[in-house]
């Protein structure tokens, strides 16, 4: 165990040194989901380095020992077909490693797809994050406000992002809070995140979406719940309500700075939660729940119809 951790720490140290001593975003998690992913990454880097080192050691040994210049002129290599024990080791050890990593991977899948660990008892804050060429629109249906290209979130509270797109497929990614997920124009995907620490984080679209892709970023500010509530209050006092015609203008391709509105575009331009079949609302909600394998079971029309 001690050996393993020494190796992992030295691996991390190496990575940091190479990166100029600043911790890499993905390996500097500020939330439980990103932490789980960072742990998986470090664990796999550790195991994988052992494999690489073993292969290299065997290779160097063989090259050194059996190089032609090191052997007598009359040496004729033997004819060897195979060896049962060698093959058992060469198949068995990889199977064990892959089985162990599969076990870790499957467990992590269920963890990152559900409410973050330690936050199960709290009501999640639902935020609709939609992309258009080349902007991000964030709707807070419960609070009744909307922002463009920046995101304020409370710390120590689970956040449930509902992702979709008004154009090409994009991918919503805040590396320090958790991994990315696609936003598509014909369905809504759900991403569960939470922030343990207050701070400023980088967020971006990670999936290529055309000309303005490189600048398709947004700022994330995590703050205590009280500050978050103050911010909501402030928005109500200072921001204008969003109108349908104004929103249509925002959807035009191009870059915008940060903007704030009261009300959300979900009222006149709802998320494509019911796009694929035109049956009754209840049926749709059910099929949507199943297709996303979500763990929570609240009624989504509550938010979108707010």
């Amino acid at each position: 165990m001690i050996k393993k951790w020494t190796l992992l720490t030295s691996m991390m140290a190496l990575v940091f040194v190479l990166a100029g001593c600043e911790p890499l975003l993905v390996l500097d998690p500020k939330g439980p989901q990103a932490e789980r992913q960072a742990n998986d990454i470090i664990l796999s880097i550790g195991i994988m380095s052992i494999i690489v080192v073993v292969v290299m050691a065997i290779l160097v040994f063989i090259l050194f020992k059996y190089r032609a210049s090191n052997l007598p002129d009359d040496y004729e290599p033997p004819h060897i077909h195979g060896n049962k024990w060698v093959e058992i080791v060469c198949v068995g050890v990889p199977i064990l490693i892959v089985a162990y990593l599969s076990f870790v991977s499957v467990k992590s899948n269920y963890i990152v797809e559900s409410t973050p660990e330690g936050y199960e008892n709290q009501e999640p804050l639902v935020i609709y994050a939609s992309s258009s060429d080349w902007k991000w629109h964030f709707s807070y249906p419960e609070e009744g406000i909307e922002t463009v290209n920046y995101l304020y979130i409370p710390t120590d509270r689970p956040i449930e992002f509902k992702l979709y797109s008004y154009g090409p497929i994009t991918s919503f990614w805040i590396p320090q809070l958790g991994g990315q997920k696609y936003a598509m124009s014909d369905m809504v995907t759900t991403l569960h995140l939470a922030a343990d620490e207050a701070g400023e984080y980088m967020g971006r679209n990670a999936n290529f979406s055309g000309k303005g892709f490189a600048e398709n970023t947004f700022n994330v500010t995590a703050m205590p719940q009280a500050d978050f509530n103050d911010w909501i209050e402030e928005v109500y006092q200072t921001a204008e309500p969003i109108t349908e015609s104004q929103f249509e203008e925002l959807l035009e391709p191009g870059h915008l700075g940060q903007m704030t509105f009261t009300g959300t575009h979900l009222e006149f331009s709802p998320a494509p939660e019911h796009a694929h079949n035109e049956v009754s609302d209840e049926d749709n909600n059910e099929s949507h729940e199943h297709s996303n394998h979500e763990n929570h079971t609240e009624d989504e029309t509550d938010h979108s119809g707010h």
Binding site: A19, I41, Y66, I80, Y182, M202
Partner: protein
């Protein structure tokens, strides 16, 4: 006027105008040269109409090398643009076109013809056949590949290149978001060369199953032939998916069918599924023949038989099956939920097991051997640790929860280049150096070859290893620029230096060919490497009919056994040999496909329909043609054999 506007490039730049001038000048130069040296007849008789697998292989080889430089030029422009923050070398549109064409050219028009070159050059010789099963179809395959490649390559000077990424995800690749004809080029050019690949797949499977020399059971086939066989089986199953997906994409763009649009019932992720059901097996189509080449080279230069022959075969069979069960790992982040991701996470990681078996088998082939550090062997030795790193990062990516952090980042870019460059490109260069004397009659210079190897290896490590780090630091792939504040600058500069070293490395290959052509000895015999398999048992240069007498096979290393253990390869008298006739039809069909494809791209319906009719006329003509080939007389064979150094 509108008619001509369609052909104009939407985003011209001085570099593109310069390329236009260069293309025109080179074309004029080629035509003038051919006329001046009176080589038109020679070109037509010996190359354009040939059905000889060796000549077709050489044409594939030359095309692949040319495309390597085209794709490499794209690569160096990309790395230059990213070498420093806020670089202004290329604009977003130009950069998007360049990484799209880099991907397509390298996979479809460089790696594919490269492996087809080796399949054509070596497989018939390794199994003791006179040609492939359908020689004329083989020529057609080549000309379709060539037509597709040329069509794709004119895109940047006529109408604009595709700019939606080599994966061309819809709806970005649809008419709403990609307005220029670029994506039409993508759809039609890949379609035409893809049909050629599918036909090669059928042709090679038939050849390997039906035309092996007497005594060569399946488990006595040389390893390269095995790898070619399995790759071609994958081609036969995977390419039809691509064909259908491209047809659907084409009709979406040309006839507004809405398969992949997001309105009127289209599903954007359907394209992604189709693309990767072809695309993931495709990477094994490329890597398995490379594994085959490494097996031949490592056992030759270790002077030992291949360790674990049957486990090598079974691991390839297993890889081919698993390759069809992993496509969803390309979009773990699509939101299909934990269960689906878990299944595909496990199937993906499972591929590591048979691949690991192969790595260990190569190591144990060198064990107790007598290792010579020739250029092909250096590539094979460099491949083992580099590919292992690429492989284990693949396992890391296969952990789907962690993949949420790697997806679409430079980490992924580093991973797949880490498998494809030491895996495929190194193998092709190793094979090129290894088989060069067999097909051109002289050796490539070893010293220059070693310089090339080191430039490429050091360049590769510098170019791609920093990407693992920038990926984990949040650099997404396909970003044409980044700000100073991100801190990606230094590592990207390192990548650029590496890419520049690789570029120099590739130029030394050209110099090596030129230098060796002038200086190398032509007196090298037919077996300069002291090799082990059947392709080295015939003369150099290889006569048209490959073997004067059909070889008798006793083991997977039958030529080695004939040299060391007294096995008699060639028995009996020389008999008349039946060979196919040359034909100009495949070449003509290539031209017609090119014209029809171009017309479809620009929605010029009259020439498009005429072209389609022309294709059917060529096919109909073939079905009514009575061509039974010709016979080479015993006298003629004996004369050739004597000229090449005595009958064997």
């Amino acid at each position: 006027m509108e008619f001509f506007e369609r052909f104009a490039i939407p985003h011209p730049s001085p570099a593109i105008y310069a390329s236009m001038v260069a293309i025109v000048l080179v074309s004029i130069g080629i035509v003038a040269g051919l006329t001046y040296f009176k080589k038109w007849g020679y070109l037509w008789r010996e190359w354009l109409t040939t059905v000889d697998h060796k000549k077709i292989g050489i044409m594939y080889l030359v095309s692949a090398l040319l495309m390597l430089f085209r794709g490499g030029a794209d690569a160096i422009m990309m790395r230059a643009q990213l070498s420093a923050p806020d670089m202004k070398l290329l604009d977003a549109q130009h950069y998007n076109e360049i990484f799209t064409t880099h991907g397509v050219v390298m996979i479809i028009f460089m790696a594919m013809p490269f492996i087809f070159a080796f399949m054509n050059l070596i497989v018939p010789l390794q199994i003791g056949a006179r040609d492939v099963a359908f020689p004329r179809l083989n020529a057609l395959s080549f000309w379709l590949f060539f037509a597709g490649a040329m069509l794709f390559n004119i895109s940047f000077v006529i109408g604009g290149s595709p700019d939606a990424g080599w994966t061309s995800y819809f709806p970005l690749a649809g008419n709403d978001f990609s307005e220029s004809v670029g994506t039409n080029y993508y759809m039609l050019a890949i379609q035409i060369s893809g049909i050629g690949s599918l036909m090669t797949g059928i042709n090679m499977c038939t050849t390997i199953l039906k035309m092996r020399a007497p005594g060569m059971t399946l488990m006595k086939m040389p390893m390269f032939t095995w790898s070619a066989f399995i790759a071609n089986v994958i081609i036969v199953f995977a390419f039809p998916v691509l064909t259908v997906a491209l047809i659907m994409g084409t009709t979406d763009r040309l006839f507004a069918t809405n398969f992949f649009t997001t309105s009127n019932g289209g599903m954007d992720m359907l394209w992604a599924n189709f693309f990767w059901i072809w695309g993931h097996p495709e990477v094994y189509i490329l890597i398995l023949p490379a594994f085959g080449l490494y097996s031949e080279i490592i056992s030759t230069f270790s002077r030992r038989n291949l360790y674990g022959y049957s486990s090598m075969v079974w691991s390839m069979v297993l890889i081919s099956l698993l390759s069809f069960l992993v496509w969803t790992h390309h979009f773990f982040t699509m939101g299909q939920g934990a269960l689906t991701n878990s299944i595909f996470s496990i199937t993906t990681m499972a591929i590591a097991v048979p691949t690991g078996v192969k790595i260990f088998n190569w190591l144990f082939t060198m064990w107790k051997g007598k290792i010579r550090f020739t250029v092909p062997m250096l590539y094979s030795i460099g491949f083992i640790p580099l590919f292992t790193i690429g492989g284990v990062t693949g396992v890391m990516l296969a952990m789907s929860a962690a993949d949420y952090q790697y997806h679409n980042t430079m980490f992924l870019v580093a991973h797949f280049h880490n498998t494809i460059i030491p895996g495929v490109v190194f193998a092709m260069l190793a094979g090129l150096t290894f088989y060069w004397p067999k097909f051109f009659g002289f050796m490539l210079n070893e010293k220059i070859g070693k310089v090339t190897f080191w430039l490429l290896t050091v360049g590769f490590v510098l170019a791609f290893f920093p990407m693992y780090i920038t990926g984990l630091d949040g650099q997404a792939r396909r970003m044409y620029t980044y700000s100073e504040a991100t801190g990606f600058g230094a590592l990207n500069m390192l990548s650029f230096v590496g890419a520049a070293l690789m570029a120099i490395g590739f130029v030394t290959i050209v110099y090596n060919v030129y230098y060796s052509f002038k200086n190398s000895s032509r007196d090298i015999g037919s077996d300069p490497w002291d090799a082990r398999s059947l392709e080295w048992a015939t003369h150099t240069p290889v006569p048209e009919y490959n073997f004067a007498r059909t070889p008798q096979i006793s083991s997977s290393e039958t030529f080695w056994d004939s040299k060391k253990n007294g096995h008699v390869l060639f028995k009996g008298e020389i008999e008349e040999i039946h060979m196919p006739n040359n034909s100009g039809v495949p070449f003509v069909m290539g031209i017609i496909f090119f014209i029809a494809g171009f017309s479809f791209i620009f929605a010029l319906w009259v020439p498009a329909v005429i072209g389609l009719i022309g294709i059917f006329i060529c096919m109909a003509m073939r079905s009514f043609e009575k061509d039974h080939g010709r016979h080479i007389s015993v006298k003629e064979i004996k004369e050739t054999e004597e000229k090449l150094g005595g009958a064997k």
